[in-house]
């Protein structure tokens, strides 16, 4: 069975499981149904004979519901758990296949980070070398291009990185990565506000963050 079939089957199992659980979970005890009927009839100004709105105390309500709906509810729950397990397994298989096919998934993160660092090094060199002021528009354009062409594709692959690296390594890499991204956003804002000093500082700080991310990524692979 292909991975996409497995995923579909898992999704269906979970959807059916939730449907069964929620349907039987929604069932009211006869006494509660009567109380709800009386209450709604009253609020909708429909005269009915019974005025008894008493219900079971909460703990009795749980046990009364359990005696009515336990078996189908537990069946639904089992479906959710089995489907979720199958979905996890399908996801892991998909990741393994992807890694085998390309063989360069961890490298692509590394390449991406190296690309960012190189671009920021170049940008910083330009900022340091230029007279103050004239290159903020170009800097802003380069930051936008870096964001769109390199940062966002890496961010989009984060789920795959998380599965490949494990959650702890992922946190170690993506923590400084996100910090660097935020600093670039700040550099962009400073470009718009025409604050040269802040742009220079933020580009330098962002580069440090991405270097730290790369260092973590390298140490974990």
């Amino acid at each position: 069975m292909s991975i996409s079939h497995l995923k579909l089957m898992a999704g269906l199992m979970v959807a059916i499981g939730v449907g069964v659980c929620a349907t039987f979970g929604a069932q009211l005890t006869p006494k509660t149904l009567h109380a709800v009927t009386v209450e709604l009839a009253k609020s909708n100004q429909i005269p009915i004979q019974s005025t008894d709105r008493s219900v079971e105390i909460p703990s009795e309500r749980v046990s009364a519901w359990w005696s009515m709906s336990a078996i189908p509810f537990c069946g639904g729950l089992l479906l959710i758990l089995l489907g979720s397990g199958l979905a996890r397994s399908a996801q892991t298989s998909a990741l393994k296949n992807l890694s085998t096919e390309s063989g360069t998934q961890s490298l692509s993160l590394q390449e991406g980070l190296e690309l960012i660092i190189n671009e920021l090094t170049e940008l910083q060199r330009l900022l340091d070398g230029e007279q103050r002021g004239p290159n903020l528009i170009e800097t802003k354009q380069r930051l936008e291009s870096l964001q769109m062409n390199t940062l966002e594709p890496l961010v989009d692959q984060r789920d795959r990185f998380r599965l490949q690296m494990g959650i702890l390594s992922f946190v170690d890499v993506f923590g400084p990565f996100s910090q660097g991204e935020r600093r670039l956003n700040r550099a962009w804002a400073a470009c718009v506000d025409q604050h040269y000093g802040e742009v220079t500082t933020c580009v330098g700080l962002a580069r440090s963050s991405f270097e730290q991310a790369l260092q973590s990524q390298t140490s974990h692979t």
Binding site: T37, I137, L168, V171, N185, A190, V192, H195, Y196, G197
Partner: protein, 588 residues
């Protein structure tokens, strides 16, 4: 976008030597002023009409204008601080006005100081408990927070280029036009199912809300689990429950089977007594599962806070440090405990401490739920979470209504702060603001909103003959307070849908095993909300998915994001304007 920018002159004005403006005196003063004004206005609106309004976008627009006029070199992130403070100050209005009037309506005798202390405690606790989750929600999970994106788009608009500004304006104009039409005609939704004579247990109702469509567009494929949950709840479970005969029958109502009122009552029973409480339970279970699944990442966040504490006085850290957060949390807990002691006439000190601890724990869980739900859908299940909080307090206090509501104020205010802080941090991330300064600003000044909200409430709730304090609030129906009063009366007669909460929690917990983060919360939210909201959001989500497939990711970023942000901002501002006009003219 780049073309427009490069058409500008190649040189820039003289380089400013001053530090880059961020947390400035004027941004703080302006934030407090705008926040207080919105707070007072929204208290009145909520007392009159029963709903409150989000203030982030309004604050950003007003701040934008004033800062540009009054400060020579106001910066984008300075306006972000102003907006962060303003929305934080405004936030107390909803928390106070949805809870406290219940006590007024019941004629309860209580000290306003206990309410004030409780709300201030809630403000601090809400901010403190959500800060450690910034990394997890914004940096690792990358939750969308559509309102946060809308505010960031607005703040970035001066530098985003003419094309994006046009799209923002177009989205704004479209949403405004549609909302004005909706206000004038009184049509807020289109019942397609009704037109096609489809039974009401299979609802096909579209809300007329371009803000919801915009939120769906910003969420894109990430919103699909929420949409799937709604479809499951309303197009599968609802017809099944109806066909199984589990709803009030025509016989039991003494009506003919073809009487339309039967369908209406069945719909109300399905939503109010079944799906809504089940949804609340699922939200809670989903949040607990989310906490368990996020524990490893939370370790990373705590490490970051610990590093912040080590960075200490240098102020170089990204985050407010763990020590400051701990001090704020302990102080806030002390306030909450004091509120319980003042409010209670019968409980022992130990019982007051216990109820304060449970309130604190509930606030953590509910804050997580609301932040996660807002992060994906921009819709906050605040009232449901607050309701459970009040119910918990009610049982723990042995049926003491005053204690339940007073501590409920803290829960309601705190939950609102969680969602607001996270949305502001998202906007901050997108424009490069310092999270530490945003956190500091919100923590230091949001409490100002509490005396404003409580003060306005007491001012408006005048006794006969005028004066200051509880009495007959002429012309103010306080619908939310009235609803809470009804629920408290129900609790007094032992009516609490504990079975539904319990069952929902199990479903939410089990969904935590599925490899989609926050699935339980999203499915729970879909059950909790009327389907018209979910379906409208789904339209936006589907449009976004279709456009992304045909146009690509980068096109989405530069076109759909400003357009959708414009729609959210447009509807928010038009709603506020419409409400103010209605109140001023006395129109209904």
């Amino acid at each position: 976008m780049n073309n427009e920018v490069s058409s500008s002159p190649p040189s820039s004005p003289p380089v400013p030597e001053r530090p880059y403006r961020e947390l400035t005196v004027i941004s703080v003063i302006l934030g407090i002023l705008i926040g207080s004004l919105m707070n007072a206005a929204f208290v009145y609106i909520a007392l009159k009409l029963g709903f409150s309004l989000g203030g982030s976008t309004v604050a950003a627009i007003i701040g934008f204008g004033i800062l540009k006029v009054s400060v020579d070199r106001a910066s984008i992130i300075e306006n972000n601080i102003n907006q962060t403070i303003a929305s934080g100050v405004n936030n107390a209005s909803a928390g106070v006005v949805f809870t406290l009037p219940a006590l007024f309506l019941m004629g309860a005798d209580f000290s306003p100081w206990s309410a004030m202390l409780s709300a201030i405690a809630g403000t601090f606790l809400g901010i403190v408990i959500i800060i450690p989750l910034r990394k997890q929600m914004i940096e690792f999970e990358r939750l969308r927070f559509p309102s946060g994106i809308a505010v960031a788009s607005l703040l970035k608009s001066p530098g985003a280029g003419a094309q994006q500004a046009k799209l923002l304006g177009f989205g704004f104009a479209l949403a405004t036009l549609i909302h004005v039409s909706s206000e004038l005609t009184g049509i807020s939704e289109i019942d397609i199912g009704g037109i096609l004579s489809i039974p009401s247990y299979f609802p096909i109702i579209l809300g007329i809300s371009f803000a919801s469509i915009g939120a769906g567009m910003l969420a894109g494929g990430g919103g699909l689990p929420f949409v799937a949950g709604g479809v499951l709840a309303w197009w599968v479970i609802s017809p099944l429950v109806s066909q199984l005969g589990w709803l009030p029958s025509a016989d039991s109502l003494g009506l003919n089977a073809d009487d339309t009122r039967v369908f209406s009552i069945q719909g109300q029973a399905l939503y109010q007594a079944m799906l809504r409480p089940l949804g609340i339970g699922t939200l809670i279970g989903g949040a607990i599962a989310g906490v368990i699944a996020s524990l490893p990442a939370l370790k990373g966040a705590l490490k970051s806070l610990s590093n912040a504490a080590q960075a200490g006085a240098s102020g170089s850290s990204d985050e407010l440090d763990a020590n400051s957060l701990a001090i704020a949390a302990v102080s806030a807990f002390g306030l909450l405990f004091s509120a319980a002691v003042i409010a209670s006439s019968q409980m022992s000190i130990l019982e007051c401490a216990l109820i304060a601890v449970v309130g604190f724990l509930w606030l953590i869980l509910a804050g997580l739920v609301v932040a996660q739900a807002t992060g994906v859908t921009d819709i906050s299940p605040l009232s449901g979470m607050s309701l459970i909080g009040v119910t918990l307090m009610y049982f723990l206090s042995g049926g003491d209504t005053v204690v339940a509501v007073i501590l409920g104020v803290a829960v309601c205010v705190g939950i609102g702060q969680c969602a607001d802080m996270m949305s502001d941090l998202k906007a901050g991330h997108l424009i490069g603001a310092s999270p530490r300064k945003q956190q500091l600003a919100q923590l230091a000044f949001s409490w100002v909103g509490v005396p404003v909200a409580v003060g306005v409430l007491y001012l408006l709730w005048t006794p006969d003959g005028g004066g200051f304090g509880p009495g007959a609030a002429s012309g103010l129906s306080a619908p939310q307070g009235d609803a809470l009063q009804g629920i408290l009366k129900g609790l007094a007669s032992g009516d609490a849908p504990l079975d539904k909460y319990f069952v929902g929690a199990i479903i939410g917990l089990s969904l935590g095993v599925f490899p989609i983060s926050g699935l339980g919360v999203l499915v729970g939210l879909a059950m909790y909300l009327p389907f018209s909201v979910t379906l409208t959001y789904a339209v936006g989500s589907m449009i976004s998915i279709g456009l992304e497939k045909s146009k690509g990711r980068s096109w989405m970023g530069s076109n759909v994001v400003p357009f959708a942000a414009g729609m959210i901002i447009g509807e928010a501002l038009t709603s506020i304007t419409a409400v103010l006009i209605r109140l001023a003219t006395g129109a209904t």
